[in-house]
Symmetry: none
Subunit: 132 residues, 4 copies
DNA sequence: GTGGTCTAGACCACC
DNA sequence: GTGGTCTAGACCACA
């Protein structure tokens, strides 16, 4: 399971978005989707840090914030687990709520670029088919 | 002309995105879409600053960076205008390139949320119809 | 490495040329000459600022503009380094292109001062031998 | 004579150097070289302004500063003349002094670009032969 | 430790 | 009127 998680985690150091935030957002989404289940172990700080050539403190900060907000639990000597307390997989509506800001941002940019509705629909459909 | 530009410029001080960056992104998109044409004047630093209740230097910083990257030109003692060196309104392909990162981000998030293709298509279509 | 860079950086506060521009020009030339290589770190904003007794924002402005134009890259939480995207050390031809405006300005002034060719050649040769 | 002066005057609006300063420097050099003699008329403010598509006030400012420093005299109804009072054509040594800053700037830039002595000599000689 | 953002205010240069 | 430069200082974000 750990290895598979690693595959999903995807850090883009030069994207402008802070590394710790990239990790937090991705873990949250993986929990919301049921990809990560309560009790699942997360890869160790060291493991992630060396894998992405990142300062371990950065990973640790992400985990700590996820712990503080109840998504993860720290088990002494065993690492971080997905918390039982919080709901686990969310219904589709909740997940779509999480996705909403990204949709709005896309629409805003398309509007300012004066891209017509039909054009945008076709492009998005193509991306969904190929990449999703 | 100034007044029309002003209507489009839209600053959200508490959005987390730096003010100067909001301005840069919007001006770039207004140029790409042909809304701002080569030779058009931009509203003065002081004008924008007082309108949005921000420090003139913040606006000046945005304009300077747009000048450094070739989007704007300085008219000494007059003001800033859209550079004619860089092509002005861009063809639809170029604009879509600009939009691409936002699309990719959306797809990545949808994937991690395990939202199915059909579901996503329907949601996006709705947004495009209503908001674009 | 830092120390060596520091030796080269040379600010003349009262030269009329803005401090941030002096820094930009010098960094550009140090990159073009291969003195600064892709991946090299630059001295920190605070370091340069205290060394030359200027406001950190002034240095920061120079670095930001060099980043906007692709010469430098930010390492978040670390510092600035020379970008590897842009070729690094340039061939002699490219460097001479950079030098060209200064040569043209010299020729224009000499022409307007009606300084004869032979005279100018001798003077320049002397300067090259002694100062270059 | 006026027309010939016009040929020498050369304004580069986007060079970074203020227009009024470009004019001042050029007039000074033309006087130093004996190209403009005491009593010579300068082209009218309006003439120069329309020729270079520049604000007449900018030209006027240049002339006023040249008057204040004794290079020109204002004759009511006749325009500006080169002043009799100041020495007119200067000896070669003086002229070379005027040229010195441009030479030093060139050497500084060549040094930072790591251009070798021989290379620089050849380039400069070429420019002198062709352009001076 | 690093750089970034913004402010308030002074002063300059140009047109 | 326009933009530019710089300062001093506060506060934030990141590693």
């Amino acid at each position: 399971m750990v290895d598979e998680n690693m595959i999903m985690l995807n850090i883009a150091p030069s994207s402008g978005i802070p590394i710790y935030k990239q990790i937090i957002d991705q873990v949250k989404r993986m929990i919301a989707s049921g990809y990560l289940l309560p009790g699942d172990e997360l890869p160790s700080v060291r493991n992630v840090a060396s894998r992405f050539q990142v300062n371990p403190m950065t990973i640790s900060k992400a985990y700590s914030l996820l712990e503080a907000t109840g998504y993860l639990e720290r088990q002494r000597g065993k690492g971080m687990l997905v918390s039982d307390k919080q709901g686990g997989e969310k219904e589709m509506d909740k997940r779509i709520n999480i996705l909403e800001p990204a949709i709005k941002e896309l629409i805003t940019q398309a509007k300012q670029l004066a891209i017509p509705k039909d054009k945008l629909k076709i492009i998005i459909e193509k991306y969904i088919e190929e990449k999703l």
